[in-house]
Each structure stands twice: as structure tokens, then as C-alpha cells.
């Protein structure tokens, strides 16, 4: 995945988006869509419908509230704050719903996918996805954000509305929980 720095997201593109330039918005969308979708998809354990909802929500909010981006924080930090909010809000809604809503079946990854022809790799990936899903939401969003976006701890603190120390703690604990769950699958060192 391309990881453009914000210096490459020129002020002109953001300004154009603010002016309602659909082409500029499409540029932004194309730059970030896969990362946003991937984070959402793994956050919701492969639920493509939820991931699509969250992704669309993020970009609609981005487009309609881009006037609020004043440039004091980097653009991607602001964007990922939207991603965190969308994922965490949806997670809270799912917990709060009293009846079983009409949720589409989780799509089994790797089934028929050209990316994972190897059965063992597919099984491993499924185990990892399940382990990520088992993380508490605060740890889950932190590890996914770090992994897919490679934000600095300071940027993550902004996106997650917490301190740098809390980011460090959540990442450490999140990674250790994954290791604890899957150590037999991946193999421990020494």
C-alpha cells in the first residue's frame, strides 16, 4: 500500500475539496479508501457490510465537514479520528441493540479469493482475524490503526482521543493478547 505523507496531500487538494471539487475528493478517496476499508473490515471481523457502512460514513463526513479541518493537525490524523469514531460508534450500537438485527453473514475470507489460494495461509489469516476480533474494541482499533496506517504515537493519541502513554499501553497489551492467543499457531521464540 502506498503511504503518502501529508506533505504530498497538498493544501490545494484540501482547498479544492472544501470548494466542493468532486475530482479532488476522489483523489483523497482513492488515496485512503483501502486503508480505511481494511481497518474497518478487520475491526468488524470480516463483516463487509459493516466495513462498507463505516467507510462510506467516514468519507461522507470527511467531505461534508472538511471545512472544519484547519490544518493544525495533519490531515491523516483528522481522517483517522473519523475512522475511529465510525468504528467505535458502530461497535457501541451493535452492543446496544436489543434484538438480533438483520446482519449479513460474515463473509468467510479466503473462500474463492485469489489472494489466498494456500489453505494453510487462509486458515492462519482466519485465526489472526478472529484473534483481532477477540480484542477489546479499544485495543483492536489501536493495533489496526498502527498496523495499517503506521501513525506515530502522537498522531494515534489524537485520533484515539487519549494520551501517548495510553496509546503505548494499549498497543503493548493488544499485541501481547494476540501473542497469547496465537502463540501455538505462530510459534514462540526461544
Amino acid at each position: 500500500m502506498v503511504n503518502l505523507s501529508d506533505r504530498e496531500i497538498s493544501a490545494a487538494i484540501v482547498e479544492s475539496c472544501r470548494a466542493g471539487d468532486r475530482d479532488a475528493f476522489r483523489v483523497l478517496y482513492d488515496l485512503y479508501k483501502d486503508r480505511v476499508y481494511s481497518i474497518s473490515l478487520y475491526f468488524f471481523h470480516g463483516d463487509r457490510s459493516e466495513a462498507s457502512e463505516a467507510t462510506q460514513q467516514v468519507f461522507l463526513k470527511l467531505m461534508t465537514s472538511i471545512g472544519q479541518f484547519r490544518g493544525e493537525a495533519e490531515f491523516s490524523t483528522w481522517l483517522y479520528r473519523l475512522v475511529v469514531n465510525a468504528c467505535m460508534d458502530a461497535a457501541r450500537r451493535r452492543r446496544a441493540e436489543p434484538i438480533a438485527a438483520d446482519r449479513p453473514r460474515l463473509e468467510a475470507f479466503g473462500r474463492g479469493s485469489s489472494q489466498e489460494d494456500d489453505y494453510a495461509r487462509a486458515q492462519m489469516a482466519e485465526s489472526v482475524r478472529s484473534a483481532v476480533w477477540a480484542l477489546p474494541t479499544k485495543f483492536r482499533i489501536a493495533v489496526l490503526l498502527r498496523y495499517f496506517e503506521d501513525l506515530s504515537y502522537e498522531q494515534m493519541a489524537e485520533a484515539l482521543h487519549c494520551s501517548v502513554g495510553t496509546v503505548a499501553s494499549r498497543l503493548s497489551r493488544g499485541h501481547r493478547m494476540l501473542a497469547e492467543r496465537l502463540k501455538d499457531l505462530v510459534g514462540t521464540k526461544g
Binding site: R48, S49, S52, E53, Q56, D102, P104, E107, G112, S114
Partner: protein, 149 residues
Amino acid sequence: MLRLGIAVCAVVALALGQGFTFTIGNPVASQDFQAKSAAFVFRTEGCADPAKSQIGGTAEGVVKGARRSISLKVVATSRPGVYAVYQNWPGEGDWVVNLKGTCANASAGAVVPIGPKGFVRESAKFFPRAATDAEIETSLKAIAQGGSK
């Protein structure tokens, strides 16, 4: 013996040809909110690997006596093998949607008439190959004459 051979060949041919088909439905069937404004949705069946199928089609119509053909806007939904068809043809005139697809060596086709209230399921026709021009024209004539059954 010859009859048996022919029968076996017929069964095999039937089995092979029966594989790949379309089923059309109301957008609710996709369970994908992004398809809510679609004209209709459809799914492929009998395709071992939906990700490798090729799907497309045209909207065929007659507007003020002039014959029109427009490339169809077909978008994959979040469910493998399920697609949404969005209306990109004008509201005036008589229209049918001509769907076609391939999966490995199999083909499928469908002609779906569009009425004033949306797609006309009862008049849709399905084929084990792309529809012929004659089949499309037949459906168009039926729609133009107000026939929906």
C-alpha cells in the same frame, strides 16, 4: 447402445449447461444498504469462483421511436456474486436491461423489462447464454405494447 450414449451425452450436456445462471431481486435481497437506490439486484449461481466471473450488459430502449443502447452500470455489492444495477437510462421511453455474464466456460444472460414501477420480474427472461438481438427486441415490443406478462 447408441441411444444410451446419446442419453448420457444429453445428461452431461444438460449438467454442464445448467451451471451458471442469474437470479434477479429487489434491492433488499442484497442486504447492502449501498444498493438501496439500485433498479434491481441480481446474483450469479453455479459459478465456483464469483470473483472470476465477468458481468456486464446494456440497457436497450426505444425513446420517441429511436432505438437506444446504453452501457449498463453494474456494481458488485459487498456480497460475492451479488450485483446492483443502477438506472442510467432515461425515464422516458421503453426499456429492458440486457444482462450477460461468463464464468469459466459457462455463460448466462437475462432480459429484464423495466416498467413504471421498476423491474418486471414476471416478464424477465433467462438464457444459458447472452440474449440474442431478436430476444431483446421481443421483450422491447412487449413492454411497448404495455404487456408485462
